[in-house]
């Protein structure tokens, strides 16, 4: 039995899994839900092997599936949310010479960000996540199916909401402006 499913998975999905997982994590904020979302996405994607095989950008096509799956969100809402204790579940990247203070600060920041993200609507969170993954307006339009004009407005409002939530939390570090943080 030559299944199209496994082959399509190996060829088209497997290379994108890391990306999908990143996006799923951004959307869900915890590992279990992120893994669920990725798994659901894989299954859904393989149910439509033709579209999967023909997509010019498998990553965008898969993200579209993932996005819609997330927005449908049935499973997420059905389950009681699991709130991790502070900092738990977030394996911290061991930065060069990062002292305990830095780590603590970073943890605090991440918590603040997660909490703020949780307050966003699903769509807002998804849009900001996609944007943070480096997708531009065109691509986000493809992925979400939301028109560009609406998209602009929503992105803007989502950013302001997030900023407001972050501010409410009164965390200085999170609201500090870091333009061009590469430098």
């Amino acid at each position: 039995m030559a299944d199209p499913g496994p082959r399509a998975f190996d060829e088209r999905i497997a290379p994108q899994l890391a990306l999908l997982f990143r996006a799923a994590w951004r959307l869900t904020g915890n590992r279990a839900d992120a893994e669920d979302l990725v798994q659901d996405t894989c299954v859904l994607a393989c149910e439509n092997p033709k579209a999967l095989g023909e997509a010019d950008h498998p990553d965008r096509w898969l993200l579209r599936v993932l996005y819609h799956r997330f927005i449908d969100g049935t499973r997420r809402r059905r389950r009681s949310p699991v709130v991790p204790r502070k900092g738990e579940e977030l394996p911290l990247p061991v930065a060069d010479e990062a002292g305990p203070e830095d780590l603590a600060m970073q943890t605090e920041q991440e918590c603040a960000l997660q909490e703020a993200c949780d307050k966003l609507s699903d769509t807002q969170r998804a849009l900001l996540s996609l944007r943070a993954e480096g997708y531009g307006l065109d691509e986000i339009e493809t992925i979400t199916g939301i028109g560009k004009d609406v998209l602009r407005a929503r992105l803007h409002r989502a950013r302001l909401s997030l900023a407001r939530y972050l501010e409410q939390r009164g965390n200085e570090a999170a609201t500090s402006i870091r333009i061009g943080s590469k430098s």
């Binding site: 499913g5 531009g136 333009i179 590469k182």
Partner: protein, 701 residues
Amino acid sequence: MNCQDIAGILDDGDSQSLSAAERRAVEAHVAGCAECRAAFAAHDAMVSMVLPAMSPDLAAQCRRLVVAQSVGGGRRVGGRPLFVVGVLLAGAAAAALVGLNVIGGAGGGSVLPELAVTTPDSGGNANGSSAMPLPESDEAIAEPAEPAVNAPDATGFTVGVSPLLQNSTNPEVIRISETVYRAFLDELRRIPNIELVMLPAGEFQATAITAGSAILIEGGVAASTAPFQTPASEATTVAGPPVDVIEFEAATVASIRNLSDPVSAGTTAEGARTLVLVDSSRVVSSNGNGTVDMNTIPTALAGRIETITGGASATYGSDFLDNNIAGIRVDRRFSWTGDGDGFMITPQPLPYDVVLEAAASSRSGSNVWSFVVNARSRSSGALSTSLGSEIGVPMDPSAFVKQLIETLQAEVFPVDEKSLAAVTANVLDRRLSVDEWLAELNRLKQMTGRAGNTRLSDDVALAIVDMGSRISDPRQLISYLQALEGLENAVLVQPLGQALRNGESENIRLEAAILLANFRQDPMARAALDGAANADPSPAVRLSARWAALDEAGQRNLIVTSLLDTRLTDAERIEPLLLDVRWARTAPVELGPAVDATVANELGTLLRRHEPAETRARVLGRLSRERSQNLTPLFVERLRDDEAEVVRTAAASALGQRLDEPAARQALERAAMSDPSPVVRQAALRWLEGPVAQSEVLIRN
């Protein structure tokens, strides 16, 4: 730069790689615009979010799901659901006393017994050939990808057949499962409109473990082709990323945040503080201290593994101290057994409307094997009764398959006047090919059977006989003869009689003789049977014909007189006794009071010298149904003296059914203590009542 430009950068640009001039312009604007400052902060926060690495198991998990899904997609022919029956066969091995002993299921060449059209019991002696790889191909066996050719309007059944136990190292498992397998498939293939579908080797393998024994399931549903000989490494998959897996002596326990780590916890409760749930049911601890051995969970079938920590876990119970749960959400198709003592495969995602499962297992870790087949349908759950067998105890796959097919038919084809008339018209249609016609004939038979009126009108019966007279192919001929069974019309005696007189092969004549037994009141049938009983070249046919002409009292008489007739050879004397077993379609004749002391004596003498051991075991299996107390000494003697393990086991099981007799109980107790074979000792122990009695024996020992 204005707010719009900032939004443009945030919407579409790359804020991380602005030119120096742009960055200055942005900073200048942001300094004076609170809104843009907030937007930028939010954007940056999202971009710099710390993302954990993907769990290395995720890819494998996803792939497994995808494969399961694509297998479960099902296929439909002609817009109408095609019946597909998947045959899942499983073998089991006894667990070692300590730890678990999982049979390796490494992929390999498919080992499928070649199927011959024989009487159902013919595989029973296939002891020597069992280890031999048997060829896979047969015309009736098609790849599932091909459409069912012989199913015009999708009224056929498709049977998925899995390769079986190809790597089992236990010859006993191979032997019994192959026997059942062959008999079973033979039986399925008697039905003309059935298509056998071979499930590919290695496609599905999984390990499931029930209490006390490990079961290797092949032809199952898990995707991985990897062997599962290494339960400890598999358990790593179970545990999922946040759970450490600690190998602790023979068991593998889940530990979350080291609380269950024997080193850091420093207590005797390793793993006891983590609740393990499978499909929301607690996994019972595998030892005294509450530890759950992760090896007992078939990871290959786990659909999702979640770890719940913290306060939310309290909803699942309070008896675990660190509020941790390793929850394993298993696939839909994989679930607990009804008794909660193990896992089982459920057929939902398989593309079959019915799944036939078979498992060989040994009870209580003994080496006495039983083989159980049962069927479940996707729509209505349990379809049919189970079919079980033990070594030495004959089984009857034909009745099981018949019942299964009838149930299937009843689900799909309701009987009403109109459909009955339509099928009858088809049977009378001379344009059909022989196979098509046989399929229609079988449908007619099944429909009339369900309608409770199997009496055919004369013209239909005559037409059937006429059409049947043109069949020459031996296999089709047998199918045809079998299709006649259960149809009532005296005209049908004629083709059966003709087949009995003129059939080319012994098989056909045997079949005809067996079928004519239903018409033994009919003078024509009697004449044919009597003729064959005297004149047939084959002794087997002669005996069967003689047997078929007798009513139950006559058959009982034949058994007894043959046993007592010292002019015959040993084999000939015993053969009638095993005949009803061989036929496998009539209820066995209860000898009852006919077994007097003389008969029991003769049997004892015969068994003392009769070879081979297989036959002795079968005789004992046959006799174990008898109630006569005269037989007890015979069983006792076999249990004590026979050199063959299989015979002693059969004797033990015969004695186990008459425990109310002190002699039987004593013999079993003696065997449980002093038999040279552990297999027999355990079998005897198992038959002695309950755990109390067992421990008594052990203490006395």
